[in-house]
Symmetry: D2
Subunit: 287 residues, 4 copies
């Protein structure tokens, strides 16, 4: 399903000024790169910050990764560019954290196996053993890290030590524990969470129960990066589904599962394909 | 567009128990009524309250309005029914309140003229004179009631005196004033408002600006009944539209207009056709 | 997830006339049934045929299945009613037919295990062995019935003999063989198929390829009952997803999987819960 | 609502090869242009044709329109580019053709007046006089060109003579006449039509009636460019809305109006902002 050709992707942000696109596209052309996708955005409403995602064929490109970095440095300095480079050939290593609910994990694993998500999954971690059989079906190592209220920090410390160096980013696929700040800081803008409401509505616990009580006519899900502020990190993707007076809280949970898994999968795909840039607690998503 | 046949609609709520549907449908049958639509709901998750909307042909029905009320009384007492009866022949009189924005009013008037909304519009009231030409296009009397901060209560008192007896319900079609409790109480569950966010997100002022700042990926609109608590009345209809990082606050306003007018029109249609029952700050909507 | 209470559901169709609802609801009440859901429809645009779905608690109802049939007979005769009765306690037995694609089967099995679909799955049949491991994960017997072009009729005859008496209805979950008329007639209005386009667009083979060539801006899926006319049976559910010029045929296939599995699951749920009536190649779906 | 800054937009197509983006962005930079939007696409699945839309500030750009054309010529020749240049300052002149139905025209005019559509409307033409009052409300000249079956060609000839030189493109806002090939050829890829179905379903007349008869569960609308083949021109935008067994043909017409006007307005906006390129009967739409 993924395009067979390998690409190199540059993610770029800098103060806007004329000449950036010319300089970067000239740089790629000079070293025999053929641009396959390019998108840009300037934050006109606020200050003028320029963002760009530009992908070119790795095949035929003249520079090694090290040479690319050296050769791009003068351009980066000239325009004060913050940048990162990503090779599609190097699949991201993704750790998944779950608790007991299986719908998001089931969906992620099926999509991954179907080739929709170009990533490797070195491990699944859970504070329960419930979903171990599901991990086994897909031959993914499953680790049980209990989460004990009285030693929460120590437990997360052990988990972090285990993870460190093994994953490029983490997915909280309905992981029902709040991560400590030290843990979040260890993976800045690299932890994706799915919240089961259309944030900022129903921040916090039990959103479906509160949606039922409020009598809303739609429920939703929000995929976002985890920050220190609960459910307030940059939003990557959101969607909703209609509901009505016949829906009990249980029905909302059932309907919501469909939205949750779809929204989380979309966010994971976007992040995996280096399509998300973050700017002041908001995301720029280059589809 | 509306069905040419006139119908009588009963809206009913009472504690659930066997025999209610049988008694009501038998009552209708006995007096030569042919049921054309019927829907029911029981609030299983909470207490067991029964709700019903049942419509039957007026043509052929044997009882006059007064006779119907007398004949139905024993059934209502037996099952402790709260009920109301509505004749589609008697079009509701609807007063519309607006400020300066024209999209909701334009849409309502066009739908009304197209026959989508079976109601009469005796007047449009505004705290500005901006939309008077629009009212004139449709030959609807337009009254300018200024809203002065220093004499808000007196101003709303005059407005209420004017309205009283002229309208069965009111639509706030982006009317940008908060109604005083005495005004709201004069039209209990009879004032429809459109809020320009997917409530309960962004309660209060400037929802599009706040949506922009939060970086949400969808914006929406909510039609609800007005109560004393700002933006917390029973929700009738909601919908959303997707947005992205390219949308400025102005773009959100533009996109939002499409959702606002669609959601408000849907709520007005539902209310006009007696399809909405209210129960504990929530609505039961019989489509 | 399903409501724990068992219900009895009557599906009814007959020429419209006054008194039907009264007679049926009185019948249920007389035998101590409490109605939990009721919906009706009359085909006003064409002839006036009346349709009804009415569910009542089995608990407390005074009649056995045999007694119910005997007692209802006079009403059925009086109104010329075609009817069927369904006990939620008796879960339907559903045979699933697949070929090589796994997305619909994966989704159905996950929903079934999650309690969303109140049915039993006695067998999965395929003309390939590809999906046997998936069936094994869920402990469902998997049978390989090859489909050979030169002896198509004989092959389908064996398959039918195997199925007969084991299933109440069949799901074609991307089963890529056309069933012979004799097979279809053996399960009238009891074979559900998912077609990967928004019918009647792209009837027949390769809808995604043809959608790509036509340059449509949305693709979809249609769940319908199988009849002798290919892709022309009564439609149960449909949905679409947006696409654009960047989508290759492969992308359409990937996006379409999400719609296909959602639409098929919805149709299966509706059919399993006895919410679908058929009238002249169209469905009446009581949500 | 429209961005206050004026921009110059280049639309480009050519065989794909490395260096195109570099050459064009360098060209813009050399003449003091600041790129504000840029998007590209390569038709990988078929031959490799490259498409680009690139917008830059007119303010500060050093070349006059004539100078731009001269200076760009060498680049165009080097890469075999087909190109066009568009100045947002020069608003497109749009002629609207209607018959009797008012929903699309009402919506277009309201959006136009609200500033959503950056175009001028020199005239509205109709084969009926029905909608003249609507045109007058907005002070737009309205011309009645009758369409007589026996002299269809002559009638369209007069209409074309009238239009010629007055409009840059035409909108058929539910204009119920089929345009003759000579008329279509006079405005190649410059006539937008709204068809009231999700094409290619229900090509031709009476799509709502046929949708009713088929029993589809969604209805839709398609905006496309007019070509010689009825309803088969390149599709610009499509959307659908759900429907069900309760909807009569009249209900489908009513529901469909909402989709038609939304889809047509979207297509007009895209065309007006030079966001649509055509390639082999398909569109590339740069949002």
């Amino acid at each position: 399903m993924p395009t067979p050709k390998h690409t190199i992707t540059l993610l770029i942000s800098c103060p806007d000024q004329p000449g950036i696109v010319a300089a970067i596209s000239q740089f790629i052309f000079e070293h025999q790169g053929n641009i396959v996708q390019s998108a840009q955005h300037t934050t006109n409403q606020q200050d003028c910050t320029f963002f760009m995602r530009i992908s070119f064929d790795e095949n035929g490109f003249a520079l090694t990764p090290g040479e690319l970095r050296d050769a791009f440095l003068p351009i980066a300095e000239r325009f004060h560019i913050k940048w990162s480079v990503h090779y599609s050939r190097e699949r991201k290593r993704v750790g998944i954290l779950v608790s007991k609910l299986d719908h998001c994990l089931t969906d992620l694993l099926w999509r991954w196996k179907s080739g929709e998500l170009a990533m490797d999954i070195p491990f699944i971690i859970s504070n329960h053993s419930t979903l171990e059989p599901l991990a086994q079906m897909y031959n993914i190592p499953y680790y049980h890290f209990p989460s004990r209220r009285e030693q929460r920090t120590a437990d997360q410390q052990s988990m972090l030590e285990f993870i460190y160096g093994k994953a490029d980013f983490l997915i909280l696929a309905r992981y029902m524990q709040i991560l400590e700040p030290f843990f979040v800081h260890a993976f800045p803008q690299q932890i994706l969470n799915i919240h089961h409401s259309f944030l900022p509505a129903f921040i916090g616990a039990n959103p479906y129960q509160r949606a039922f009580e409020r009598g809303v006519k739609l429920i939703g899900a929000t995929a976002h990066y985890v920050t220190d502020s609960l459910d307030e990190g940059p939003i990557i993707a959101q969607d909703v589904i209609h509901c009505n007076h016949r829906d009990t809280t249980e029905d909302l949970v059932r309907k919501g599962r469909d939205v949750e898994r779809r929204v989380l999968a979309e966010a994971v795909r976007l992040h995996t394909e280096d399509r998300v840039l973050i700017y002041e607690n908001k995301t720029i998503v280059f589809q």
